[in-house]
């Protein structure tokens, strides 16, 4: 039987959840035995080349591209997992929710400490190639159906390992309380 195929992505996240995936240490060798990776920063495959079994999503959706990628994952993966606070709730990026988009753009390109006095022509990025900014940061499950949620900021490596191992082997997931952390 062929190995289950896993894809991963980081949307509006900080890659911390992916670092936590790597934190499974030497079990990564076992993981490679258990599964095959497709689209993922782990192997740098940029587009789906086949249907996958498990899609792991880090980060919520703050722009149009995040939404496209997420929908693409839904289309190409049997099971989707929201990994970490940002995917589940919007996380840190969602701190901007409640602040008008206009003010966020101004802070980023006109008034923020790194641009203040530099962007004298007051250029606001508007090239068609750029992703469009959403009115707020959305958790993934508001855009597509998500099957499982793994909490944490980042989720503990053991939690990720236990979840993936359980999904792949079909065994019940081990959930000792030490591995579930919400921050």
């Amino acid at each position: 039987m062929s190995k289950p195929i896993v894809a991963t992505t980081s949307l509006a996240g900080c890659f911390g959840c992916h670092m936590s995936i790597l934190d499974i240490d030497d079990r990564i060798l076992k993981l490679i035995e258990l599964v095959e990776f497709n689209k993922s920063p782990v192997d740098d495959i940029k587009t789906f080349t086949k249907q996958c079994d498990i899609g792991i999503i880090e980060g919520g959706c703050c722009n149009s591209e995040n939404v496209h990628v997420l929908k693409d994952f839904r289309k190409n993966c049997k099971i989707l997992i929201s990994l970490g606070e940002c995917a589940i709730m919007g996380g840190l990026p969602a701190l901007r929710n409640g602040i008008p988009v206009k003010e966020c753009i101004e802070e980023a390109y006109l008034h923020g400490p790194t641009v203040d006095g530099v962007n004298t022509e007051k250029v606001l990025p508007n090239d068609d190639e750029l992703p469009m900014i959403l009115d707020r940061v959305y958790p993934c499950h508001e855009i597509v159906k998500i099957d499982y949620f793994l909490p944490g900021c980042p989720p503990r490596a053991d939690l990720i390992w236990n979840a993936v191992a359980a999904l792949v082997t079909g065994n019940e997931m081990e959930l000792p309380y030490e591995v579930i952390k919400f921050d």
Binding site: N126, D128, M132, L134, D135
Partner: protein, 599 residues
């Protein structure tokens, strides 16, 4: 400003436990409580400005910025919505030219919402500068706002007066008592002082035994045996003890405590003094919700009268050492302050956040001293029990629920109002009594209680079957149960959660959003099971009764009216997203001047 505040603080002996009163007076004098005002008060009381601010920010009726010379609080509770809230809200917006949550630019009028104000039998109702205006119609609104603009005093904005004491010169309110049925205990005639004279000749333990033998259970909802509570308190180590009467009456749909305090105030106060005698307390506090401030002058006159007649004060009824007095403590608009430990926190001048229990108030209550907290009706019943004896009392009601219960009945019926019945009446009998026809549901015990369907109308109003603090809302067949009742209740709990427990603070919001999603036609069967799962999680993981029961509107309607939910959810899919790309990028694209490319 500074001198006014210094004078107000001095009025309360610069006692930090009287912060609520100080803030209320400050607001009355200055219109609102500014940051500077908080600092002055903090300075006077020798506490930090943050301590003052956290109390101010907790309560709905404390304003941190001006809310108008005339502040209108329109009630948006379920019965208000049933009887025309929408139309009245629009009329206020039209007449004042002001949106809700704002004041007019000239600072004359502020327009705000508020939760149930205890007028469910005469809705829609609003409070304007402590005066209550009931049974509002668009034309009454027009008249009121015209009066405001003409500079009339609040008391002259309406010429209507209510019945009974509501017409008393110290009350002069248009509120109606609507006492529809008088029973043997609360509303029967009583000669003031009879019971106090009787207890003065009894030992304190005899008084407690009499209350115990009567099987009187608390009338605030939870039904804890009153005599047992008093006994615990009387045996507590600390001998400085207090009596608190819970008149917060915040459960939407209840209003009987208002009527008792209007018509039977002295009888309630007498019950408190009896409690004071029994547990050895010298001070009683009536914790009265701010919504009932229009009764303040009258209640104070009743207390004064009782002092004159030697029924309060030193040496009550002439018995040396029988000293007991009562002061009124006002809340400032927070439902959770009806929970006894939150009430105590509030009476001490803090945010109304419930305490961890144990210790219970009977050992560590007001100012950490042993305290009995009882409902208005409980104290009122005690006065009668002492007069007529516990043996007589237990002949009323049922085996496990002795005596009578005062119900507050509102909603779709011909005769809403206050009914004193004997425990044991069935819902069906109750509906006949109030002239309710074509009833879809009865909400028993307020939002935190249960929503019954017609198949359950044989059930009995009694602790052993349907316990209740007395709120009964009749919901007619033509109503939209989920939208007008369940959603309204969830909005109420979101607003009123004190926020201490994460599940209560966040899951109420999540549940409310799920209900909105279902109402909008975007729900699935999965949402129904999620509602159930989250509701149970919420009720299991919170500190006080609010969070433990706030999902009841959902749980009990899911159980008793499941078909209504199933009629709303989509069954052809297990997931619906309401995300709209075009709408969500509109604002940012416009601002940076680009054309959205949606694909």
């Amino acid at each position: 400003m500074k001198n006014t505040l210094i004078e107000i603080a001095a009025r309360y002996g610069k006692d930090e436990a009287r912060l609520m009163d100080i803030l209320m007076d400050a607001q009355q004098a200055l219109g609102y409580i500014s940051k500077e005002a908080m600092e002055v008060i903090a300075n006077e009381l020798k506490i930090s400005a943050a301590d003052v601010e956290q109390t101010v920010s907790f309560y709905h009726f404390f304003a941190r910025s001006p809310r108008g010379k005339y502040t209108i609080y329109l009630n948006n509770s379920v019965t208000s919505v049933m009887f025309g809230y929408q139309e009245i809200a629009e009329a206020f917006v039209k007449e004042t030219g002001c949106q809700f949550g704002n004041t007019t630019s000239d600072g004359l009028i502020g327009l705000y919402h508020t939760a149930c104000i205890g007028m469910s039998d005469q809705e829609p109702a609003a409070i304007i500068n402590d005066k209550v205006f009931t049974r509002l119609t668009p034309s009454k609104v027009k008249e009121i706002v015209a009066g405001i603009k003409a500079g009339k005093k609040v008391e002259d904005l309406s010429v209507e007066t209510g019945d009974g004491i509501n017409a008393h010169p110290l009350v002069k309110s248009m509120v109606k008592n609507n006492i529809m049925r008088k029973g043997e205990v609360i509303f029967a005639d009583y000669t003031l002082g009879t019971s106090l004279k009787k207890v003065a000749g009894m030992g304190t333990q005899d008084v407690i035994n009499e209350v115990k033998n009567s099987n009187l259970r608390g009338r605030g909802g939870a039904g804890f045996p009153a005599g047992m509570k008093w006994e615990f308190c009387s045996k507590a180590e600390d001998t400085t003890r207090y009596v608190i009467c819970n008149a917060d009456e915040g459960e939407p749909g209840t209003f009987k405590d208002r009527v008792l305090l209007t018509e039977k105030a002295a009888q309630v106060f007498e019950g408190m003094a009896i409690g004071g005698y029994a547990v050895g307390a010298k001070l009683g506090i009536l914790y009265l919700r701010a919504e009932y401030r229009y009764l303040k002058a009258y209640l104070e006159s009743v207390l004064e009268e009782m002092r004159k007649n030697n029924l309060l004060g030193k040496g009550i009824t002439g018995k040396a050492g029988f000293d007991f007095d009562i002061r009124i403590q006002f809340g400032a608009g927070a439902y959770v302050c009806g929970e006894e430990s939150a009430l105590i926190e509030s009476a001490e001048g803090h945010r109304g956040e419930p305490r961890n229990r144990p210790p219970f108030p009977v050992t560590k209550g007001y100012l950490m001293k042993p305290t009995i907290v009882n409902n208005v009706e409980t104290f009122c019943a005690v006065t009668r029990i002492i007069e007529k004896g516990s043996a007589w009392y237990t002949t009323l009601g049922t085996q496990s629920s002795a005596g009578t219960k005062v119900l507050s009945i509102s909603g779709d019926c011909e005769k809403p109002g206050v009914y004193e019945i004997q425990w044991g009446m069935s819902i069906k009998e109750m509906l006949e009594m109030v002239g309710a026809k074509d009833t879809m549901a009865v909400q028993v015990a307020g939002p935190s209680g249960v929503c019954l369907n017609p198949a359950q109308f044989d059930r009995k109003i009694a602790f052993e079957d349907l316990p209740t603090g007395g709120s009964m809302i009749v919901i007619g067949k033509f109503r939209n149960l989920i939208r007008d009742v369940v959603l309204n209740f969830m909005e109420f709990f979101v607003e009123e959660s004190c926020g201490s427990c994460v599940p209560c603070r966040s899951l109420n919001v999540v549940l409310k959003q799920r209900i909105e999603k279902i109402i909008a036609g975007n729900g699935t069967m999965e949402d129904l099971s999620e509602l159930e799962r989250l509701s149970k999680m919420l009720s299991m993981s919170t500190r006080c009764g609010l969070g433990q029961t706030s999902s009841n509107p959902i749980l009990t309607t899911l159980q008793n009216f499941r078909e209504q939910y199933e009629g709303l959810v989509r069954k052809d899919t297990d997931y619906i997203s309401t995300f709209d790309m075009a709408a969500s990028v509109k604002e940012s694209c416009e601002y940076v001047d680009r054309k959205p490319n949606i694909h």
